[in-house]
């Protein structure tokens, strides 16, 4: 978990007893992250309303990429995984990987992706 001492306007660094250095995002970073999340969401909804784009093969992959970017940004900055010890990163990404494999396996098992990709 992130250190619970200092959050300031600018990213700062703290040296701990272990000698490990933790950086923390500041308020300005949080606002910028919110702005980026809003812009991506607007992009997603905008794409939804362009019929030619919806009909194209790029529609679904682009939405999935935008969603994944939003997911990653929230996890890295708001859930401060970017600044955490690598053990916590592993504890998050490990189960996330298992969850993703489970989802894809279920879709293959019940024929949804088989129908799409042959």
């Amino acid at each position: 978990m992130a250190d619970h001492h200092t959050h300031s306007d600018t990213p700062d660094a703290e040296t701990h007893v272990s000698g490990e250095v933790h950086h923390h995002p500041g308020w300005s970073t949080y606002w910028k992250v919110a702005l980026i999340l809003t812009i991506i969401t607007v992009g997603e909804v905008w794409a939804y309303y362009i019929p030619s784009f919806v009909a194209s093969r790029a529609f679904v992959p682009s939405l999935l990429v935008m969603s994944a970017v939003k997911f990653g940004i929230v996890v890295m900055f708001y859930m401060h995984l970017k600044y955490d010890h690598k053990l916590f990163r592993a504890l998050f990404t490990g189960p996330l990987f298992v969850a993703a494999v489970t989802l894809i396996s279920l879709l293959f098992l019940f024929g949804h992706l088989v129908a799409r990709f042959g």
Binding site: M1, A2, H4, H5, T6, H7, S8, W27, Y30, W31, V33, A34, L37, T38, T41, E44, V45, A47, Y48, Y49, V54, F59, V60, L63, L64, M66, S67, K70, F71, V74, V75, F77, Y78, M79, P95, V98, A99, A100, T102, L103, L106, L107, F110, H112
Partner: protein
Amino acid sequence: MLFVSLISTYLIYKGRSIVGPFPHEEWVSPTGQHFNAILNIPVTSASTFVLLMSSLFMVLALAAVQNKNVPKRTTGERILGSSKLWLLATAVAGTTFLGFQAFEFTSFVHEGLSIRTNLFGSSFFTLTGFHGAHVTAGVIWLLTLLSIDYRRGLGPNDALIVDIAALYWHFVDVVWIAIFTLVYLIK
């Protein structure tokens, strides 16, 4: 894993409903009754924005708790340093999201889609209903923290309990990010 199971179920049943209403297509029943596409993207986009902003409010609440002992000189610093304000803002945003969901569920039922209507209705209401239940639990958690803040104040020593609540809240947010794309936007 709960939400992966529910999202998988939704995706597996996607497009397999025999009768409407359908999420993105119009439908005319054998009796001649006309049903519009049921999903209301503008309303859901607004609720998604509210939930994203609630995550911002939550990190500001956590930062305010962590910096409680730092002197605030300007009005801006005092606003940013008010944990009560940001905890309340997060809870209000969460409640607003639930209001949007209640509106959506009610309008769906009025338009002829219930949890028993078809495969889409069953998987949709189960998935989004479970997410709404998690948001409700988060709002109750936030209000509990807010009441503690009013009674004795939250300081740097309480940062861990606020951070755990924040992690839960952001988890609810990232689940919604996936639901919004997979359920609402992908046709």
